[in-house]
């Protein structure tokens, strides 16, 4: 089956803007402090029509910059990417929550007539996708999926369906999230409560950022002469119903590898979850590979960018693809994501076969 090619990568995160800068920053290691925030930036540096988006929320701004970087990286001009044959799938957990908080706070303290319509319309979950469609003139399917950290894999799965059924030729897949003090406070409360229960205690700090990937079928990318950074050769989604998290993880890993031509033992790097159940998921990888297998290279994003929730998974995928493209790792690699409600996802990334490319 025609594999999914990652032909463009856009990264906006606390450590870097852009694929190459991110590879350097990630290789340099942990963030200087433990505040995982994207520094302020001018959207004009990335998007020609940025003035139209000067009042968007943080999550949308990150997404637009990441999309622009990915589109350029894939060799498209911003004006040429869109149309009826282009799609856009955005995965989020919270989205533009700062505007929601601002709108609701004004509503509570000053009443309905004081609440700004801007903070409402730009706070809706599909604001990053809607603005992205406008910015890149995408008239094909445009969707926002909501979920836990594994929502990035859902976005890839959805895009794969659109590409394989021939509805679109190219699809932007985006994860984006912004830090917010109410959300950070709520997670801290939940984590404090969770620590009272045995077997839990993972408390990843909330981060922010965005990752965008331009996905095409490998054959489509080859026809336009593009050299993909990596291919997505397999993926799988799971959810714990009554089972142990490590068992669900192991089953999900095996299922993802069944789609590929690789053996699980060949995996040379793993990006562990940035969300809850990190240790259980890690045990799941060991379970799936079998005790005694050579330990893979663990590439942990958490110390560098925190946990940017709905953006985390695609940042993992972008990182693995960028490192494979830069020759820093060989692949196949695994991006493993888990969420507090027991959802799991695995994406397998591989080097581009030079003959096929």
């Amino acid at each position: 089956m025609d594999r999914l090619a990652i032909s463009g990568i856009g990264v906006v995160c606390p450590g870097a803007f852009g694929r190459e800068a991110w590879v350097r920053a990630f290789s340099a290691g942990q963030a200087k402090d433990d505040v995982y925030r994207v520094p302020d930036f001018a959207l004009e540096a990335y998007l020609a029509n940025a003035r139209s988006f000067c009042r968007v929320a943080g999550a949308t701004k990150f997404a637009l910059a990441a999309m622009a970087l990915a589109v350029t990286d894939a060799g498209f001009s911003a004006g040429a990417f869109g149309g009826e044959r282009a799609g856009l799938i955005v995965g989020i957990t919270h989205g533009a929550v700062t505007y929601s908080v601002q709108f609701h706070r004004t509503l509570l303290l000053e009443g309905p007539l004081a609440a700004s319509p801007l903070y409402f319309s730009e706070s809706v979950p599909n604001a990053p996708a809607g603005n992205g469609a406008i910015a890149f003139r995408i008239h094909g399917p445009v969707h926002t999926l909501i979920g836990e950290e594994p929502v990035g894999t859902q976005a890839i799965d959805f895009a794969a369906g659109l590409l394989r059924c021939g509805l679109v030729d190219r699809c932007l897949v985006v994860g984006t999230e912004e830090w917010n003090e109410v959300v950070a406070h709520a997670y801290a409360q939940i984590d404090r409560a969770a620590r009272r229960r045995p077997g839990s205690g993972d408390a990843p700090p909330l981060g922010e950022g965005a990752a965008a990937l331009v996905l095409e079928l490998e054959s489509t990318a080859a026809r336009r002469g593009a050299t993909p950074h990596a291919v997505i050769s397999g993926w799988s989604l799971g959810r714990r119903l009554r089972e142990r998290m490590e068992d669900v993880t192991a089953a999900t890993v095996r299922e993802a590898f069944r789609m590929t031509s690789h053996r699980l033992a060949e995996a040379d790097h793993v990006l562990p979850p940035t969300g809850r159940f990190r240790s259980a998921a890690t045990r799941g990888i060991v379970l799936a590979r079998g005790e005694g297998a050579d330990p893979p290279n663990w590439l942990d994003l958490l110390p560098v960018i925190g946990n940017p929730a709905g953006a985390a998974n695609l940042l993992q995928v972008a990182t693995s693809a960028a490192l494979i493209s830069a020759g820093k790792v060989g692949g196949p690699g695994l991006a493993l994501a888990t969420g507090i409600e027991g959802t799991v996802s695995v994406v397998v990334l591989s080097k581009v076969d030079p003959v096929r490319a």
Binding site: A133, I134, T144, I146, A186
Partner: protein
Amino acid sequence: MNRRVAITGMGIVTAHGVGKAVNWEKTIAGESGIRPITLFDTAGYRTKRAGQLADLPAAPWRRIQRSRVDRASNLLHHALSEALEESGLSNAAWRSLLPIVALGTTLGGMTSGERYHETYVRKGPSMARPSSLVDHLAHCQPIHLMEEFSIPGTPRVFSNACASGANAVGYGFGAIRAGQADVAFCGGYDTLCEFVFAGFHSLQALTPELCRPFDKNRSGLAIGEGAGILVLEGWDRAENRGARIFGEIIGYGESNDAFHMTRPDPDGKAAALAVRRALEDAGLKPEAVDYVNAHGTGTPFNDASETAALVHALGSRAREVPVSSTKSMIGHLLGGAGAVEGILTVLALREKWLPPNANYETPDPDCGLRIVRKAERADRLTVALSNSFGFGGANATLAFQAVGADA
């Protein structure tokens, strides 16, 4: 593999009540479910009414702590229970079937989020109870529902504003047709909450009068609440197990305006693309369409733009085909709209009655469609479309066919 997709169960909750029987009866009677809001204080708002479900019965949760679930999950529980019961499927079926769950919503359990944030703001962060967030995020409602009904898998939650429900049904339709799942539970939901009400109020999109879609004197929308769930299966499978088949989904189309976050593109061409794609997907020509359940919000912009879209997509047929918007009676259910209106469309095909576009009095020359003023008997009703358009330029159209139409 392209399988025919049968609808074997439907569950619906709106301001008209819980269940298809009451919803259909009141819809055909043209009864209004728009009433004074009691869920929050409307002092300070120009509009005081919405499609609020007056008495939402408590859902019989068994596995999930009832006090922690959001009003949204209760709506969903009722809708799924009705749909499941009719489908004849039970928990035992999941052991041998591959089910998927796809739901659309705009803001999930927003009522819970409002409660948490109000305490956070008024009493201080430490007083806000995290337990009130258990069912807040939009993916939590389907996950809790799946736990309650022991449905395995990972839900897909679409949040494409007012097209969300139709997108979720379209996704389920695609998965069944392609043989990627044996059964799909798909639909949409949203609750009435002050955050959303205030949002549309701030956009001056709410009418303080009657919601009258496509009328020259239309002045805005009425917000509603509710949920709709459809059970989809491959036609052969449904027939083989003797399931009751309510109707068939035969096509789905989607597109994006790429124009403005809140306003539809007035030329309607992108929305027309969604309609055209649904027709192409179903292998139909415009002449085959017998009824359109319009998005029809009642705002000046939407109804004019939707008219333009129908004219682009259906050509001369657009001026002849009966059109109505059921939002005039139950309000705009946002993420629930596409699924609930899809169910009403299937009921129209089954019962051979066209639902009315209530409150329509004065034709608008900019909306020269054949609006259904009062419920009409339509014995030859076979194929119908249901449109859903939303913020962010989202457009979706579902095409339905009556049972026996292919005979």
